[in-house]
Amino acid sequence: MELFIQQVINGLSLGGIYALIALGYTMVYGIIELINFAHGDVYTLGSFFSIAIIGLLDASGRLHGVPLLLVLAVALAGSMILCGIVGVLLERLAYRRLRNAPRLAPLITAIGASFILENIMQLWRGPSPIPFPSVVPNVTWHFGGVNLSSNEVLVVVMALFLMAVLQIFIYNTRLGKAMRATAQDRDAAQLMGININMTIALTFFIGSALAGVGGFVSGIYYGSTWFYNGFEAGLKAFTAAVLGGIGNVAGAMLGGFVIGMVESLTAGFISDQWATVAVFLLLVLVLIFRPSGLLGEVLPDKV
């Protein structure tokens, strides 16, 4: 029982990170039907940016005089903004021209973009794991045999908070409505006066900024990262998005937590090696029995 509760806690924090990444996959797919395979690398970039910003503040000796919370806030905000910009640049430079091309072309471009980002990161910080500055004190609480760390709480709270903000944004603001309209029918959205280029860029910005948050919290959570980190995390988050119903924002959140839970329970009760297998087995099963995903609609988006 204790092991179960422990693995649920682990699964929730893992799931929170996957969910943050999955949102970007699903939002981009929802609006331009592109699986942005470079998105996992944007997530890794989020960790890199956070490390660089904290390092910068530290090196200049400012870290000791400045409250820790402020340093973290700056790192988080910086990571979000920089990742957002990377996402917008990807769309502008690589995907926009291919918007009306056969679907294979942008897909391959996305894989290429993924390689480019990975290699940039490798050039930047080398091929070895990079430690995340241990500036955040990790407090662990013990409840019988169950451990709960402050980092786990941080991941889950951050993920849930941002998902709530995103939901409110999408359903209750003018720009959120413009995004949903563009996703449902691009031409009709234009006829409403919606600037779809701006709306699509905004979607990339938000999705990438959320990956930036994912990179920041995962850096704190795991304590290190490396340039290739986004490959597997990206695949799992993509699986989460498909599991929830690709294009569906609430589905990506649910999918993220389900994947995290499956992974951590398999690791706890079967073995570590089977965790990833279980995740992709779940993907296969979903694709066979419920291709539209848990929350996906059976009817296609387009009329």
Partner: protein, 242 residues
């Protein structure tokens, strides 16, 4: 009457297929102009060019005296040149209210938008009953009302209507056409595309006939209704069959 919209020698292509061959037409302020023609004649293409969804290879679109040929669709909408597209194209997974709000996307005054909403509800009381229903769950006729209502939410100067009667029962067709006439009386200029040529010409002031991407006839609506060629090609027998 002042010219509101003018197309000059428009050539448009889909890939290598030429859909429009040197189309020229004119819509004056306050008019209802009908563009009739059979399937595939280029009617929808003409509207796509006007709205900026399809960039013509040659020619100009002049609106309120200014060349808008190269403007993006959202900027054209900003000039209150509004299209209600073929097939209604309402946002199926959004509510009636959200659809109408999107129609007012470019407008800034909330009080004016609220006034427009009231006007639309006066014109289409049915939409008010369905205000929180998802667009996709409406009947065909209700969807058409929503599409027109949504276009009106932008307070159009010129309204382009693409096949508003398509797929509607004869009774509803009458209703929709009388509402179009009503909208025009409130000062909105209308360019109307219809396969239902008789109905269209009955409410129009002038009309153009489009055949395989060429304008083959243009005249007052009354003359076109009386014309032998038009009667033979587009009006069928005395009873309308659509």
């Amino acid at each position: 009457m002042a010219t509101l919209l003018e197309l000059r020698q428009i050539d448009a292509f889909y890939g290598r297929i030429q859909a429009l061959h040197g189309i020229s037409l004119r819509v004056d302020k306050g008019e209802v102009v009908a563009l009739i023609g059979s399937n595939g004649a280029g009617k929808t293409t003409t509207l796509r060019v006007i709205s900026g969804l399809l960039r013509p290879a040659h020619g100009q679109v002049i609106y309120e005296g200014q060349d808008i040929t190269r403007l993006s669709p959202d900027l054209i909408v900003g000039r209150r040149l509004i299209q209600s597209p073929e097939g209604r194209r309402i946002f199926a997974r959004m509510t009636v209210l959200e659809n109408l709000q999107l129609g007012a996307y470019t407008r800034t005054s909330l009080t004016e938008v609220a006034e427009s909403l009231e006007e639309v509800f006066t014109l289409f009381p049915r939409l008010k009953e369905r205000i929180n229903q998802k667009g996709g769950t409406l009947s065909g006729g209700e969807q058409q009302m929503l599409a027109i209502g949504r276009a009106l939410m932008s307070k159009p100067e010129l309204l382009l209507l693409d096949e508003p009667s398509l797929g509607l029962s004869p009774l509803l067709v009458q209703t929709i056409f009388s509402i179009i006439r009503d909208i025009n009386k409130r000062g909105v200029t209308i360019l109307l595309i219809e396969q239902n040529a008789r109905q269209a010409l009955q409410i129009a002031h002038r009309g153009y006939v489009l055949e395989t991407g060429n304008i083959t006839m243009q005249d007052t609506a009354a003359n076109l209704l009386a014309s032998e060629e038009v009667r033979a090609a587009y009006l069928g027998g005395s009873v309308k069959a659509s």
